[in-house]
Symmetry: D2
Subunit: 127 residues, 4 copies
């Protein structure tokens, strides 16, 4: 999953604003789910939500205006009613230099917000 940094992403230091990487994490996990054959929109339509309960990012090197970024997403730990995605972002033209890495933890809930087990059709995608 690639992303080109726009003016609207950077702050006055000329680097991507620290909170905006979480948008890229979202784009990354959405594309991972899609590649495995389902969209997150379809998961929601099956009456399952996966709200974020924790988010973390470690900033190693700054991404700058007009950089072409690569967002690498992996499924981390999968539990009964929660799961974790791990992310690494680097520049397309310098893939050996890690810019940021982070993770998000998600609960699995029904439409009323009650915690439920990860259903089989979601587990099938994640494994």
């Amino acid at each position: 999953m690639e992303y080109r940094v726009i003016y609207g992403d950077v702050d006055q230091m000329g680097v991507v604003y620290y909170g905006n990487y979480f948008r890229l994490f979202e784009a990354g996990r959405t594309e991972l789910i899609r590649e495995r054959g389902m969209s997150y929109r379809e998961i929601e339509e099956s009456r399952v939500a996966m709200p974020v309960t924790e988010a973390y990012c470690h900033y190693h090197r700054p991404a700058r205006y007009d950089d072409l970024l690569v967002i690498e997403t992996r499924v981390g730990q999968v539990r009964r009613a929660s799961l974790r995605f791990d992310y690494r972002i680097f520049r397309r033209d310098e893939p050996e230099a890690l810019l940021v890495e982070g993770h998000t933890v998600h609960a699995c809930t029904d439409p009323d917000g009650r915690i439920v087990r990860l259903p089989k059709h979601v587990l099938a995608i994640l494994e």
Copy 2:
């Protein structure tokens, strides 16, 4: 309505990103409605929506990081099924220097998105 510019609002020129003024316009019209005795949340709960159909901004002078801004909002033209808000933004410490001015036009719709007349309880607030 006042707003302090944060790092997350500015771009690498050190000025507020042009698209972010529309967030300030929204904050301005929300506070105007609240001052008149109703919140926009309550308008929505009365099964009326006012989606934006047009938005315009003219940028005269840049707002910068840490500036304390004042957002001045007025009700412009009110029609049968639409209305307009006008905005002016300046710095608290230099109120004679206009930074940006703009407007938004809103349709009045029911929850299914059908255009309807502005209901009396909304008109009462706007006039």
Copy 3:
């Protein structure tokens, strides 16, 4: 230029927040300039800036979460010291239904913010 709508773009009506289309307009004009052989970053490095002086958007139909959007950008009027870009956004899978259209007007300035004529290397790209 294509863009996939993420959760971070939409509001609680499930549609792209009105101010976020201006981010897409920026992405559109950046890619247009790049296709013509120069990046906006290179224009800036040649000591020319093109700050936005006016922005306008007309919202016809909402874009929704997970929609794959197409942003069509054209160079509009080119004057001595300013120019205009025109934008149209529609969904990849329904190209006949216009979602939004708008434009931005840009001044041409030197690094100190003084208005200057559009230099030849920029004009060459735009025409």
Copy 4:
């Protein structure tokens, strides 16, 4: 430090988008520094930067459209060349119900990005 949630902050679940809390964290630490007698802009003018190296947020309960939030910021661990801020966010009208908590870790650098000791005038503010 108070903040009123706008439409532009929430996603289609009607809750504040997970990445937007980091904007509130920034607003919180900026106001904490200002209350102690200096603005972050002045710190930068003294040739000291404090870029974020880590950011974390734990989401307990969602903040919703139009909620009036309170952002509580504290200085956490202060080391030689880095420091940590801790944040808690709750609703003004329900202060006993924690919505989110998190922290950011900041390096102390000179204008060229080299790690330096926290200077005395910054330490004086933080302690």
